[in-house]
């Protein structure tokens, strides 16, 4: 049976996102995809499905949603105030939603990007190998009130599961390795870079995040002598005003600003998820340590599904306990006969 997601009211930064489009640098297209790739993996673990499926990315706040047939959802990424027909929903958990119900997702309580996943994923026709909107490139669009999106076939049945996650929504220490212009900065600037406490500036989006700090601008001696070169997400450009700008997945593919260092890929979800004002510092690590971090991150992602546990609810939190139908249960999102 065809299921459709109806966006009754769209928050300001609602897009369909997945793993993005890697391998198209030579065509001038950056990878894009979900700003917090970890959240995609968590949603997939909660719903027991592949991490390649597309979800709704909600920047800052969500919106109001309904479905045309019973569906399973999962909520991951930046925690947001979510209710189903007015009843609070637990974040980092999976839930069932019926066609008569209204899902309301308010502002983030920490972090930036929340994700709304559906059993079967959002079934947009893939374009250039992905369903992700890449707004800077002109692929896809911001979602608006009244938009309807087809959902894919859901082969799973379980809901009412929770996945404990560590806080990645408040900044912290970012691991970096040298980049191609690191040596163009003075030793004193390297040291100052590693000792400065930065804060996430209000200027930031899916292309990158600017950092604010107290002190003299960072600068290289011969800025004009730098040839434009390929950019990778995580590169920390020092722009004209001497402030670091950490590039994210939807960045340009070539850039001419000097790069003082590169944030390792595993720490990029924390960059994307830091709300304005969050504090960041940088720690230079060896390349071997960086590769070990990538391996550890891959293992942690693979182990996510083993950390999913039943969502235990305190009966005192359930105001309408007597109206619950304990027989069909909260763990099955599908209506009879589906």
């Amino acid at each position: 049976m065809n299921r459709t997601l109806i966006i009754l009211r769209a928050g300001p930064g609602l897009t369909v996102q997945d793993h993005g489009r890697s391998g198209l640098l030579d065509r001038g297209l950056s990878v894009g995809g979900a700003a917090d790739q970890r959240a995609l993996a968590e949603g997939a673990a909660l719903l027991g499905q592949g991490a390649q499926l597309a979800a709704l990315e909600m920047a800052g706040m969500g919106g109001e949603f309904a479905v045309t047939a019973s569906s399973r959802i999962a909520l991951t990424g930046a925690p947001m105030r979510a209710t189903l027909d007015g009843e609070p929903l637990v974040w980092n958990a999976s839930h069932a939603i019926a066609p008569s119900q209204r899902l309301s997702i308010g502002p983030a309580t920490s972090g930036v990007y929340g994700y709304l996943h559906f059993g079967g994923g959002i079934d947009l026709p893939p374009q250039m190998g992905a369903r992700s909107a890449h707004l800077t490139a002109g692929i896809g669009a911001l979602l608006a009130d009244g938009d309807r999106l087809a959902l894919g076939e859901d082969t799973g049945t379980l809901t009412g599961l929770i996945l404990p996650v560590e806080d990645r929504f408040s900044g912290g220490s970012l691991r970096v390795v040298p980049s191609i212009q690191t040596e163009n900065f003075s030793k004193a600037d390297h040291q100052r870079f590693a000792q400065t406490e930065f804060t996430r500036d209000p200027r930031g989006n899916r292309m990158g995040v600017r950092l604010a700090f107290e002190g003299a601008p960072f600068q290289v001696e011969d800025q004009l002598g730098i040839v434009s070169e390929i950019i990778v997400p995580g590169d920390i450009q020092i722009t004209g005003d001497g402030a670091p700008f950490i590039l994210l997945g939807e960045c340009q593919t070539i850039g001419g600003y000097p790069r003082i260092a590169t944030v390792i890929p595993t720490d990029l979800p924390r960059v994307a998820q830091a709300a304005p004002g969050a504090a960041f510092s940088f720690e230079f690590i060896t390349r071997a340590e960086g590769f070990a971090a990538i391996k550890a991150d891959a293992e942690a992602r693979a182990a996510l599904s083993s950390r999913v546990a039943p969502l235990v609810r305190d009966p005192r939190d359930i105001s309408d306990l007597l109206s619950y139908d304990f027989i069909s249960g909260v763990t099955d999102g599908k209506a009879e006969g589906e």
């Binding site: 198209l24 390795v177 290289v220 390929i230 070539i254 960086g290």
Partner: protein, 246 residues
């Protein structure tokens, strides 16, 4: 300031490697980057997940879960040592494009200014642009957007310090011996000397980025009314024709 001996292999990010053939744009270094990338691709190393080229470098991205990037660095250095890459031939499989362009009137608001900067008359500038056969040196900033060159040395004109607030998609712009056809409307420091109806990025099409790095391009001068007709008849292709280079 760091000084490097070229060619050199350097990490770019944690999982990328950059093989650079010169510290500034140079036709033979660009050719070397294209040839070196093709040689890396031909090797089919399993841990290499993506390759590309910039103006003077080849870029190789590694999946560190598949193979050790430091071992790939050694293999790249060995491959570098096998020959003089600056004298390499261009790779096979490239194409030659002929793209209609308007070089006067509203479609070329800065042609006279650019000609003056290059020390030629406007008519000489139109002739030189029409006669030029240039190569897609790299693609970037926006999807499908080509950086093409090199024009003769007198076209080594600087970018303007004051930005042109908005040139349209399909605009032909010039600076530093290079031409760009813009993928979409954009502010720029490059001078707007012509207009094409060629769409560099066609997200809905089977071939979203028709130009490839290494392709060659010539421009066929048309009148503004001819370009209007071309845009109506061929809204994405802009009347361009293409042939295989053998």
């Amino acid at each position: 300031m760091q000084s490097l001996d070229y060619p050199c292999v350097r990490p770019l990010g944690l999982t990328g490697l950059l093989v650079t053939f010169a510290g500034k744009m140079d036709e033979s270094a660009n050719r070397a980057a294209l040839a070196f990338r093709a040689a890396v691709d031909a090797n089919g190393w399993v841990e290499v997940v993506e390759t590309s080229t910039s103006l003077t470098s080849a870029f190789i991205r590694i999946d560190p879960l598949v193979g050790d990037p430091d071992a790939v660095t050694e293999r790249l250095e060995s491959l570098l040592a096998t020959r003089d890459w600056l004298a390499a031939d261009l790779p096979l499989g490239r194409r030659l494009w002929h793209i209609p362009v308007v070089l006067d009137g509203d479609g070329a608001p800065q042609l006279e200014e650019a000609a003056k900067a290059a020390g030629v008359t406007p008519d000489q500038a139109r002739e030189e642009i029409s006669a030029a056969r240039i190569r897609v040196l790299t693609i970037g900033f926006a999807p499908g957007q080509p950086y093409m060159g090199e024009l003769p040395e007198h076209w080594n004109i600087p970018r303007q310090t004051k930005l042109n607030p908005r040139v349209p998609g399909g605009a032909l712009v010039v600076a530093i011996r290079q031409l760009i056809i813009f993928s979409g409307p954009t502010p720029t420091g490059w001078r707007h000397i012509g207009q094409t109806a060629f769409r560099c990025f066609r997200p809905e099409s089977d071939d979203p980025t028709p130009l490839a790095i290494g392709d060659e391009v010539t421009f066929r001068r048309v009148s503004p009314s001819e370009l209007d007709q071309i845009a109506a008849d061929d809204p994405e292709g802009g009347g361009a024709s293409v042939e295989a280079l053998t």
